[in-house]
Structure formats: C-alpha cells, structure tokens
C-alpha cells in the first residue's frame, strides 16, 4: 500500500509473524501424555503424541464439543453428511469410537448416514464410489442411505432416498446439468450446488425423521468458506458458517469437527474412499479462496484459526422484524439489510452505476437543476423493480397465482441473485424453490393486508 496519504495502513500488519521453524522440545521423542511411547504425531506448536494417546485426545475433544453444546438429546436421530472424503470418514470413526466408550462417556444418539451423490457426469466412477461407501458403512453398522443431488429438483414428497446398497435415481441429472451449464460462471455453479446441497440435506433429514445434521467441516474448511462467502457478498452469513450450530431452519446443522485442524484429521491416517481433486488454476472464487487460505496458513500459521474465530464473533446487521418471508428463498439467510434513512450502500451504488451506464444523461439530469441537487437526488432507490408501485394500470391482481421474475428476485438475497445473473431465473430455479417463493410472496401479501390490525 502506502500510496501515501491514502494509506489505510494502520500499523498492525507487523503483528502477524511469519512461521518460524518449530521449536522442538528436547524430549520430543517421547509422547507428552504417556511418556513411554515414541511421539509419532507432532502437531504444530505442541509437543508430540504417540498414536494411541493422539486418538484418545481427539476422541475426547470430539465428545467435549458435543457435550459442551448441550444440544443433543438422548436417543435423538442424527443425519451424518458423508461424502466419502477424509473429513467425513474421520467423523464416522469419531462417532464409532464415542459409541464404544464406557457407559457414562458413551455417545447416546442414533446415527443415520446419508451419501449425496453429486458427481453428475462420471457415470462409471459414481457407482464404484457408491459401492465402496456402502461397504464402508456396512462395517460401521449404521443405517445408511444415498440420494442423487438432482433429486432436489423434485418436490420433496416424491423424493427417492435409497438404502446405500441400492441403485439410486438419476432421472434429473441431465436437467440439473443443463441448469448449471446455463449459469454464467464456475463461481455461480459452485455456489448454487452448495446451496442446493444444504437444501437437500435439510429435506432428507426431515424425511428420515432426523432433526439434526452433522457436517464434517474442520476449522480449515470453515475458514475457507468464510473467506469465499465474504467475496461473494455473503457477509451476513459468516456466523452461520462458523458457529457450532446453524439454526436457520427448524432442522439444525451442527459442526462437531470445527475445532479440528486439517492436520489433525490427516493424522488419523485413514485412507478415504474418495480423495479431493485440487483445482489449480482456480476457475471459481471458492477454489481461489481455498488456495489462498491454505497458502497463507502455510506462511503465517494461525491465519485459519483467526478467520474462524473472527467469523464466530460477528452477526448479520438486520432490521428488526424477522419472519420466514423475510428470508432468502434459496439460502435461508435474512434478506439484505437496508439501512433506514439515506445511508449510502454498495447495493445503492450498484443501482446508480447501472442506471448511469444505461441511460443517456441528457434525459435524466435536466430535471436536476433545482435546489442545487441538494434535495433528494435524482435516483429514488427502491428494492422492488417494477410492478404496481406507481402504475395505476397494473394488473398484478391477476398474477397472484403466477410467479414473475420480480417475485423471485425480491425473495433472493444479494448473493443468490448473483448466481442467476445473465441467466433465465424462472427457467432455472428448481420447482420447490419456486413454490417457496410463491409461499413467501403470499405470506407477505397477507401480512400487508392485515398490517393495520397487527399489534
């Protein structure tokens, strides 16, 4: 920086120290806990453990995270989002270990595994993978199911959730693939798939009578998601990425591994049935954020935990009222906070830029000479693009049963709108989402009608 007076620099940069060579303790060869075995496992900034003690410590950490939350009740059914990748495989091991503890320490919930098949194109690999996961979960003894992500295009009651060893229903795969192709870039595709996956997990949990879901996000995953969410304009949602419990809907999504570093999951030395493909060079913001986080952590350790803890400390800025029709129909986050009064905002700035780049000034600025432009400026910014605001002839009553692009737009947050930029949103939004929009629009209309009588 330092373009002199414009320096935002404030001197704190130097507080972040570069990684130094690990100071190894002198008795590094012995496990710090049992002091008799060799220390095979060296965690950053700590002395080493032997394999047995390491597993004991992580098992304890896992149970402590669950215990501390006081959210899980006796005998509750919990859905595990199992991808076959390392983290969720470790999660299964941790649960298994917790179930076989002595009575007073034992985990007391019922585990149900769901495998969401999202590799839509690779037909051969996918059935092999599903087969491997079926074998893995059979050994674990938990009830296991599988579903293709494309089922999310159907209405919930027609869904096909199959036991893991049966062939799953791929009927919508081509349709979903076509929708993704129609989106403008890989960033939108990844974001859309992430949102659909979350919707799918929630609905699947409901159908399988689970009211909580475990996802296997480690601190590293969370920091990565936080950074990419910031870049996607999802600043209001950072806390739901980082908090232990995401309670945006009636079904809660929990992150019992959020205090685990990637290093800790790797030290379990488990070979997952599915490995993660690196995407270099990154073609999406999510992949870019992932590479950036990992690179920065390798040079300045502590970056990941700082990002994670920062996100844990913030919340969305919001208007007071809070009911379902004020949430985004796709991501369930609150709709954008629009400050009262004439505060400037990025959203307003974008509207002004759009207007200025699409209309000739001669036609809009001629009305502007009165009062030195002091009064309320030539653009009146409003969030609803269109319909009956000032149009007496509008026949919006007739449209009540139909959904317009404006309706959909109005019920999506800033970032979810970005997904459908330059694409036909009415065509591309899955049916359950269109229904959700319709429901929200109807609720809103009802609330407006009775608003005078609400206390």
């Amino acid at each position: 920086m330092c373009s002199l007076n414009n320096c935002i620099f404030d001197g704190n940069d130097d507080d972040i120290a570069r990684n130094r060579k690990k100071d190894l303790p002198s008795d590094r060869t012995l496990c710090r806990k049992c002091r008799c075995e060799n220390a095979d496992i060296l965690l950053l900034g700590q002395s080493g453990y032997c394999k047995t003690c390491f597993l004991n410590v992580t098992n304890h950490k896992f149970r402590a995270a669950l215990g501390k939350s006081k959210i899980i009740r006796h005998g509750e059914k919990i859905l595990i989002d199992h991808s076959g990748e390392l983290n969720s495989t470790v999660l299964l091991h941790l649960i298994k270990a917790g179930m076989s503890e002595s009575a007073h320490k034992r985990l007391i919930f019922e585990t149900i595994i769901l495998y969401v098949d999202d590799n839509m194109q690779k037909t051969n690999e996918r059935s092999i993978l599903q087969h491997k996961i079926a074998e893995e979960t059979k050994v674990s003894g938990f009830n296991s199911y599988a579903i293709s992500i494309s089922q999310v295009l159907n209405e919930e009651d027609t869904w096909n959730i199959k036991p893991i060893d049966q062939e799953i229903n791929y009927e919508n795969d081509n349709r979903l693939h076509a929708i993704l192709t129609d989106l403008s870039d890989n960033t939108s595709r990844t974001d859309f798939l992430n949102q659909l996956r979350r919707k799918l997990l929630l609905s699947a949990a409901r159908k399988l009578n689970c009211n909580k879901i475990f996802v296997a996000d480690s601190a590293t995953n969370i920091a990565t998601k936080v950074l990419s969410d910031v870049c996607l304009g999802r600043g209001a949602q950072l806390s739901t990425q980082a908090n232990f419990c995401d309670a945006r809907t009636d079904i809660k999504i929990l992150k019992p591994m959020r205090d685990f570093t990637q290093q800790e999951t790797e030290y379990h030395k488990i070979k997952p049935v599915k490995s993660i493909e690196d995407s270099i060079p990154a073609t999406s913001i999510q992949a870019l954020a992932c590479n950036f986080t990992i690179e920065l952590e390798s040079q300045f350790s502590g970056t990941i935990s700082t990002v994670f803890r920062t996100a844990d400390k913030i919340s969305p800025r919001s208007n007071v009222q809070e009911s379902i029709e004020d949430n985004c129909a796709l991501c369930d986050a609150r709709l954008n906070f629009i400050p009262s009064g004439n505060e400037v905002t990025a959203m307003r700035a974008i509207e002004v830029s759009k207007l200025m780049s699409s209309k000739c000034i001669d036609t809009i600025s001629s009305s502007n000479n009165e009062e030195n432009g002091e009064s309320n400026y030539l653009f009146t910014y409003s969030d609803n693009n269109g319909c009956c605001n000032d149009n007496a002839n509008c026949n919006c009553e007739n449209r009540e049963r139909q959904i317009t692009t404006e309706d959909v737009w109005r019920h999506l947050c800033y970032s979810c709108r970005q997904i459908f930029r330059n694409s036909d949103i009415l065509h591309n939004l899955p049916l359950p989402l269109l229904l959700a929009v319709q429901q929200r629009a109807a609720l809103k209309k009802m609330r407006e009608k009775i608003s005078d009588f609400l206390l």
Binding site: M1, C2, S3, L4, N5, N6, C7, I8, F9, D10, G11, D13, D14, D229, V230, C231, L232, G233, G235, A236, L238, A282, T283, I285, L288, F292, L296, Q299, T303, T306, V307, R309, T310, K313, I314, S315, P316, R317, N336, N342, E343, V344, T345, A346, A349, I350, V352, S353, K354, M356, S357, K359, C360, D362, S365, N372, G373, E374, Y377, Y414
Partner: protein, 339 residues
Amino acid sequence: MSSFPQCSTKCGKNAILKRPKTGDTLCKECFFSAFETEIHDTIINGKLFKPGDKVAIGASGGKDSTVLAYVLKTLNERYKYELDLFLLSIDEGITGYRDDSLKTVTQNKDDYGIPLKILSYKELYGWTMDSIVAEIGRKNNCTFCGVFRRQALDRGAAILKVDCIATGHNADDIAETVLMNILRGDIARLHRCTSVITTGADSIMRCKPLKYAYEKEIVMYAYFKNLVYFSTECIYAPNAYRGHARAFLKDLEKIRPSSIIDIIHSGEQLQVKDNVKMPKRRNCTQCGFVSSQEICKACVLLEGLNRGLPKLGIGKSSKAKKIMNLHMDKKNKPQNIDL
C-alpha cells in the same frame, strides 16, 4: 468502419471503453458523466459535507487523491456545494520520493486553483522518514510510516481547523481492508472500515467520496482527462501479509469483477455480536488524538525514537506499555507542535 460498439446509454456515439464496474460499454462523455454522478450520489446521500464546510483533501500526488481533487472541485462548482476546498499534503521527508510527488501536488494546485498546505513530519513529529530509517533500518519502517501518516492528517487538520478531511480511498482499498481485518481478526476495525464517514471523539470527520469507485475506473478517468499524477509505490515496500491480500483481490477481480463491491457489501451487512467485548476508543493521554490504547501508537513509536529505543512499540504492546509507564512520570509533557 464501426469496429467500436455503440455506447450503452444509446447516446448515439461509439463506445471507447468497457466499464470494469458494470461491464457496460460507454463513450468518453457518458463515462465522465457516470463516474462523476456516482461520486455526487455518494456525497449527497452519504451526507458527507454541509454548505460552508472547510474541507481538506488529503493530497499525495497519487492517482486517487489527484482524481478526488479534480472531481470535488468540478462537483463543488456544478452542484454548488459551497465547500471551501484545499489540498493538504504531508511531507514525510523521504528523499527522492516526496520531492517528485510534491511537485505533482503543486501542479494540481495550479491546475485546479485549489490552495495547498504542506506539513512536514519534521514539523509534526520532529523526525523525517529518512532519519527514522537511518535509526531503525528498513525492516519495520512501514509500521512508522503507516502510524505516523494516519495521524499526520488529523494533526494537520487540527492545526488548520478544518471541518472534514476527504481521503482518496477507493473501492479496492476498502475491499482490501475488509479482507485484512478478517485475516487478522480485527473486529473493531472490521466493524467500522466500510463506513463512508468516520469520526472519533474529538477527532476531525473523515470521509471517502471515492468509496464505490473502482481503482481501474479512477485510472481510466485520469487517463481520459489527462490528469497528471505521480505513480510510484512507496519505496519502503508494504509487508508480505498485505501483499498477499492485495494479490488475492486482483485474482478475484479477474474471475468476477463485481467481487470488489461484493466484499464491500459483505462488510456493510455484518456487525459484531452483542456479547463480544469491543476495545474502547479513547484519546491518547499524551497527544489527545484518538487511540485504542492509553497511549497511542504514534506516541509510543516517537518515545522510542526520542529515547534511542526505536524497536519500542513494534513488537508486543504490553512490553512497550511497561517501558512507557516506567518513564512516564519522569517525562515532561510532550512538546507542542508550533507552526
């Protein structure tokens, strides 16, 4: 030969540029008008100024402050803001750097007919950057030039009794700051870094009229208006960490140009949870300017320099505080700045 597309505003002219911010193609006149009107919109709706305000434009000779000075002067005349504008430059005393950029600022003064006031680090702090570097070497000099510079404008503005300081922070700078504050966990700054106006107790109001202007568009504007600016990065290069954040932002912009403003939107949509303790902002007991500590960083650094312990305040703040307190009682009040 119409190899150029039409201007998106349908003004009838050929477009000569594609706006990085919106992707629209515009002709020169429509671009000028869009760029200026957007800043006008920020000024009016953000209520940045009142009629009669004495406004100091933080002028470095760089592109941002040069464009800011030009646009503010233009808008002040066009929309009759009735502002008393002048340029405020700080001379850090960096040989070969400031000489050239001050020449640019002086030329801006002549070109735009805005009065110029130059204050030197020597006048404000008793030290030039060159003498500081001679004392501490190049390793931590950015701590000094950042901390001193931040306060220099406040100190200068207080001496000159201005109502408001307008700085040239652009959208890219703000997005970068949002990222930096998340990366280093500075929730207090994360909370306020997206505000278009900042005021501290007793400190002068600062505003950022270019908050939503893309750096690329600022360069375009200067280029097509033939505005002269001085373009060299500080010779004392920024540290590695901020460099990474900046490179990341550039990569993001390549993938999705809107991400700069998307990040600002993110910053505007969040707040610190109610139950999280925030560091109180208060005034430095030595110099009286805003500080999060009892003694502000500038005063700690100065104290170190004056006492021949230049590393003071660079490392752990607790250690610095201990040393400071030890010597506080013995020390007289700091010299006032005479001008």
